[in-house]
Subunit: 689 residues, 2 copies
């Protein structure tokens, strides 16, 4: 691991773009580095076209328009919840796959929406003006109010100018170094068009997740609708079915979710000593409970699958992040970086205002570590983990927040956010009582364990009940599984909430004062001082390094550049692509190494040398799933769906030697649609000029 440290320190010293590192905003891509390394000059038209064809799946992924009638290409695992929600005991679309064939058979994804970034405004100066001279706590309140005002103004302006559903969102880049308002065109009617069988989409399952070589057909096709009709999306991307060769430049456009590369050492300490062990212990046990339940029958298996995949994927990510945090080399490198910047600040009188920032953040971290456990269970909702409780909390909080001025509401309940809440409450998503009860019982039991049986909230919630009995009663007696009941409560506001005898509503009401108190303490003693400190550090960073830096990922649009490339694993070269033949050889007939019948039947027709998956050295992260991987000409040469195991430490640093992205090769998609599924209409729409 020695070379990584050296590389990281070298990168710090020069901050040159020698490595293909960074998730860059579209207003500041490293054009010169790209041109000099790959001979590709990205002009404004290229960037604008790619931006308008890249969509954000609000459930946490990326996609891209691949037809003029709103077809969206994304991963199978990104559509998995939609596919599961459209499944029944008689028709298991996860297991059997789905192809609509005609538009009238496309299936609504009840809780999905896709958004396209159509405008951005830098409001850093406005926020600075609104918070000038205030204490950290007061600045926090003022900042939230100003950003809420700016969002609202943006939404009203766009409604007037363009009609249709637009959504404006505050974005904080460079840890508060910049504030932006991003304006999205939002499609709230999204439907499932095509999905392969889980066994080929996620061939190798959890054991192969984050591994390479791989053979996953991890793609699906959705369609955005507008006013009940397929959306018009002329800015669609085209495929380069041949894909890219080793060394070819590859660009990834998408919405990386979260990185922590700019955290201070004190913040990383919180991750290492408090957050990660606490999270991993709980989720490992939850994994065990869900697995054991899912093995108890076909229906338990089906109803648990999608959530369990999410849990297992998250565990794998957190585990490797934790490994990175436990690596003494990481902390050594981060400490050196921090010392270097602090030395630069100390040497420049103009940056005197930033000098105390690191210690201020460290003090706030001590508070945060102290309150992390109760905050997570009570305000974070980990003590009530269930979909029904989430509905109840949304209803209870929305009722109270809507009586307040938009600018002083909890950020999740501003006018701009309410439509998404209503969409979720209206969605006819199936609720599985046994599955709900298991999650809730687990959550209650662990809350009691970590907070202790004598904690006042624990006593209030439990009375004399056991976790199992309480969870079972709450789930059985709540009417919130019914969308109509939810919507009635939401629309009835505070009066309806007050009158409701629904036990889940009553629970959400009962714990809300304690939860809000924790929220307030967090805002005042953690978030406020941390934001203020980060702004100061960010100012220093810009002053010292200029614009040769990129912000941490924030689930907003970014561009990554790189090339098709393998890497060396324990001294052995890893070839940057796989071929279909090996998937057949590797199959055991048992999940997760089972080839679906359609693929067994099609084997003889297929060219087994077809490339299946491939790797590049693009710097991406979760949220980039479903991102189009583009050649220099802007055509799709792959579909990002994973990273190798080394990519997970990308949360904290980019290791150019080892960090690789994994994509589905276009030839694999073509072969599937053409030779296996006979999806002629779909292919024709994608191929249409």
């Amino acid at each position: 691991m020695k070379r990584i440290v050296v590389a990281a320190l070298a990168a710090l010293a020069s901050l040159s773009a020698a490595a293909d590192e960074g998730m860059w905003t579209f207003d500041n891509p490293p054009r010169e580095a790209i041109a000099s390394k790959y001979g590709v000059r990205l002009d404004a038209a290229w960037l604008d076209r790619v931006q308008r064809a890249t969509v954000r799946l609000e459930s946490g992924c990326t996609g891209s328009f691949v037809s003029a009638d709103g077809l969206v290409l994304t991963n199978h695992h990104c559509a998995e919840e939609c596919i599961a929600q459209n499944s029944t005991p008689e028709s298991d679309l996860i297991g059997n796959g789905f192809y609509a064939g005609t538009r009238d058979r496309e299936l609504r994804c009840q809780e999905e929406a896709v958004s396209v970034l159509v405008g951005t405004e830098d409001v850093t100066a406005k926020v600075a003006a609104a918070t000038a001279g205030l204490s950290p706590e007061a600045a926090g309140t003022a900042r939230r109010a100003e950003l809420a005002r700016l969002e609202q103004a943006c939404e009203e302006a766009s409604k007037k100018a363009r009609g249709g559903p637009f959504k404006c969102e505050r974005v904080s880049l460079y840890q508060g170094g910049q504030y932006w308002i991003y304006q999205y065109k939002r499609y709230e009617d999204v439907r499932l068009v095509f999905a392969p069988e889980r066994d080929i989409a996620a061939f190798g399952g959890d054991p192969d997740n984050f591994q390479f070589p791989r053979w996953c057909l991890d793609f699906s096709v959705l369609r955005a609708y507008e006013n009940g009709k397929p959306a018009k999306t002329p800015e669609r991307l085209r495929f380069d079915w041949d894909g890219a060769e080793p060394g070819d430049a590859v660009f990834v456009s998408g919405h990386p979710g979260n990185t922590d590369r700019l955290l201070t050492v004190a913040q990383l300490e919180t991750q290492r000593t408090a957050f990660m062990p606490f999270w991993l212990l709980r989720f490992s046990e939850l994994r065990g409970r869900l697995l054991q339940y899912s093995k108890s029958g076909e229906e338990p298996r089906r109803t648990t699958e999608s959530y369990l995949n999410l849990v297992e994927n998250s565990i794998k990510v957190r585990r490797k992040q934790f490994d990175a945090l436990l690596d003494p080399a990481l902390f050594a490198a981060k400490s050196e970086q921090e010392s270097a910047l602090r030395a630069a600040v100390a040497a420049d009188p103009a940056l005197a205002g930033s000098a105390s920032a690191w210690d201020d953040i460290a003090r706030a971290q001590a508070v945060w570590r102290d309150m992390l456990v109760p905050y997570t269970f009570i305000e974070g909702g980990a003590g009530f983990n269930s979909t029904l409780f989430s509905y109840a909390r949304s209803i209870v909080r929305a009722a109270e927040e809507r009586t307040k001025d938009n600018a002083v509401r909890l950020p999740e309940y501003t006018d701009g956010r309410l439509p998404a809440i209503l969409q979720s409450l209206q969605a006819a998503s199936p609720i599985y009582p046994d599955f709900e009860t298991i999650r809730l019982s687990f959550a209650l039991e662990r809350m009691r364990e970590w907070l202790g049986p004598d904690d006042p909230i624990v006593r209030q919630v439990f009375g004399n009940e056991s976790p199992d009995a309480l969870a079972s009663k709450l789930v059985r007696e709540s009417a919130l599984a019914d969308p109509a009941a939810r919507v009635a409560l939401y629309e009835g506001g505070q009066t309806a909430v007050d009158a409701s005898q629904d036990p889940m509503i009553r629970l959400a009401v009962a714990v809300d004062p304690a939860a809000r108190a924790l929220h307030k303490r967090y805002q005042e003693q953690v978030e406020g001082p941390v934001n203020r400190g980060q702004e100061a550090i960010s100012k220093a960073r810009f002053a010292v390094y200029g614009n040769r830096i990129y912000p941490d990922a924030t689930f907003t649009l970014r561009l990554s550049y790189g090339a098709v490339a393998g890497w060396k694993e324990k001294g052995e070269d890893v070839r940057p692509w796989t071929e279909l033949s090996r998937a057949y050889e590797r199959a055991t007939g048992e999940p997760p190494f089972r080839i679906p019948p359609r693929w067994l039947e099609a084997k003889d027709r297929l060219d087994l040398a077809t490339r299946a998956n491939f790797t590049t050295n693009n710097d991406i992260v979760g949220g980039n799933s479903g991102s189009p991987m583009l050649g220099a000409d802007g055509r799709i040469v792959g579909l990002a769906f994973d990273g190798n195991i080394h990519s997970i430490s990308g949360s904290y640093w980019f290791d150019e030697r080892m960090n690789r992205s994994i994509g589905v090769h276009p030839a694999f998609i073509r072969a599937a649609l053409e030779q296996v599924y006979g999806a002629k209409a779909l292919l024709a729409e994608i191929d249409a000029r």
Copy 2:
């Protein structure tokens, strides 16, 4: 946590016995410190009497003789496996408790044995002579052979001199600074005499484990038999039914299992970055699986309970140990201690031979971290977690090892160890196939996850099977649940093993070459260099600090001194005892806060001011469970059963301010036997002069 570091450093500087710290061997108790602090002078007669009345429960606890006819006082949780093994669906002794009443109704604990330390010999010089001038690997082999020879000689001598079952064991103290042969009188026939209901023995269950205030009647009574009759044990201890008051001196005699206070920083790094996360992730998931299974019915609950308690207890310990390892203060203190000793070594030419020891150990740790995962799964057996596999491995290895000379066998299969193996194979302990299958399936699944589906051993073990199918088949088709089948294979030796078609035997045979290769690599590249390095450090430590140090715990007899004392928790005084009344107030009627019917019925007869549990500042650790807590006059003033939550970091350092032991008060035991259970014959035997 700052004050702890200061305390630890101060302790290092002077190594004075100011704190009531240490698990001292009976040949080197800190007599002066005890005399000056508590005015108690421990003479040879006192020590000898306590040693002969203290027993080791071979399943991992301590006990003491409390009657002249072999009655053994220990914890309920120490007898839990015995109680569970004597339970049936119709007669749940864990749930309902047990009182034999007469000797003919006492129930055999199939897998228990108790041992009394009757002699010790310091063989450090003999081992040094046998290993002089050899390389670390060769020294390892020579040391094992010499210790095996010494054990065997001791056993032959004691058989000639005294008859009856004696057992001699090698003991390494001070990390190889001293080698001893300990001679035990061993009682292999142990029976259950009395156990209260789980609900009062473990009142508060897992949520209250390691917590205080507590109200646990965590005691049980066993009896040692010899030649089918109650053993004669005139060196029994007597009770002081009034117990001890705050400030009164308390001595704990017992067998603390393991501490890691003398590890080097490199070894602690292994614990922090490799061992702990790996262990905790796996066991948290296993906990989830077992909990979910145990909730599926009364029989699953009953058959899982004892093992699950063990898992949950271990998780709590590891979790807090991990917290300690993640505390930067711990590593700072340990680094300072190490630097101080290294500086002393560098300054003394006579200690030049010890100078490279720390780096040698660090190099071995790098190897160990690299092989920890495969070693744990394949050689450690974590990939095959099931009682049936344990039987299979014992049978397969014993067959091969018994063909070798005693001195070159694996240490677990020397002649001295074989009787315990045979006892375990003969024991008619119930095997629950569903429970076995769940553990085994989990183990296989995680082995595949961590080693990867393409690992050669994984491929060999799995073929084309899924973990569930494979586990189910192995458990269903193996005959090893039958003691007669196990004993026949054991006695048939290599020929029987070769001929066996039992799938569990075949699995154990199949993985044995890989497992033994890992064992060999471990011995040569980890254990050998580490032992050699530790011996060198130990030499230096004795040279610098003399005998004012105590060895790490090794599940051998130790004495701890201290007093009844509370502590300050977040600024609040914790009173060092609890009273029975509060248990009734705290009861919810639901497990684990349920008072058993007998206790509800007896409530009016009981003095509710009776002390239930109490705390002392004795330095003890797991393995001390069941230890007698003694007053200055050698009478029993308590029964150790737990530590407070701060005691868990005692694995690495002793925090005098916070680390407390928890005991059952004698008055609670007396009230139970007299007022609740009417156990007159038992009380009469204990009270007999």
